[in-house]
């Protein structure tokens, strides 16, 4: 079974630039999560989708972050404009249902300079 795919693996941008991350969840997984993991910390949930609808985005900084999952499969997470404190690994995860283990991708390491 193919895992959660994310791209790119690494990205370096200057502050105030924009960046986008892509995630392809495991086939058939209705629930998709985006997490932010700052170095030395646990993953922090940014947004959760159930199919193409948002379940929870209470911790998403909506002034600069946006995410979509238009067809209920792939998802993109965008940051515009980026700040230095956005440097982190952005993890995508998916699960078969709203309760049950989440499977994680390898993440995208973002460095904002």
């Amino acid at each position: 079974e193919a895992g959660v795919a994310q791209s790119p693996r690494y990205k370096i941008i200057e502050k105030r630039q924009s960046v986008a991350f892509w995630c392809n969840p495991i086939s058939g997984h209705a629930t998709l999560y985006w997490y932010q993991q700052i170095l030395g910390q646990g993953p922090k949930l940014l947004i959760q989708f159930q199919n193409n609808g948002v379940v929870d985005d209470s911790q998403l900084p909506k002034d600069r972050f946006s995410a979509e999952r238009l067809k209920g499969v792939d998802s993109t997470l965008k940051i515009q404009p980026a700040k230095l404190e956005d440097s982190a690994v952005y993890l995508c995860a998916s699960s078969l249902a709203t309760q049950g283990e989440a499977f994680f991708g390898q993440g995208t390491r973002l460095t904002v300079v």
């Binding site: 910390q41 646990g42 929870d56 994680f104 993440g107």
Partner: protein, 113 residues
């Protein structure tokens, strides 16, 4: 938000010894917990889970204990191997409408050959 914390940020054990990693959670309504292992440069990987109607669950070389009275989880790894070196996170399902997972800071386990 919920607070999931770990008692020890680092743990070093001799190869072959047993390891115990502890985790405290704060939301008494949480009904599902997962232990994840994260190796350097990779996303978190599921190890074992437990629901709140259980107090112990065993897997291959791993055991999770849940004490709801004091809101405490532990992960026991038997006969620890060098491949077990990683950061371990407990994640708490907040039992909300979307079942979001909240992660602790993590414990870094180092196995000494």
């Amino acid at each position: 938000g919920e607070s999931v914390g770990l008692h020890l940020p680092t743990l070093s054990v001799q190869e072959g010894d047993n390891s115990i990693i502890n985790c405290a959670y704060s939301n008494s309504a949480s009904d599902y917990f997962i232990w994840y292992k994260q190796e350097s440069g990779k996303g978190p990987q599921f190890i074992i889970d437990i629901r709140s109607n259980m107090d112990k669950r065993q897997g291959q070389r791993v055991t999770v204990l849940l004490n709801k009275t004091v809101k405490h989880l532990s992960l026991q790894i038997a006969a620890t191997q060098p491949g077990d070196s990683a950061v371990y996170f407990c994640a708490e399902d907040n039992n909300g409408p979307g079942n979001q997972f909240y992660f602790g800071t993590g414990t870094s386990l180092t196995v000494i050959p």
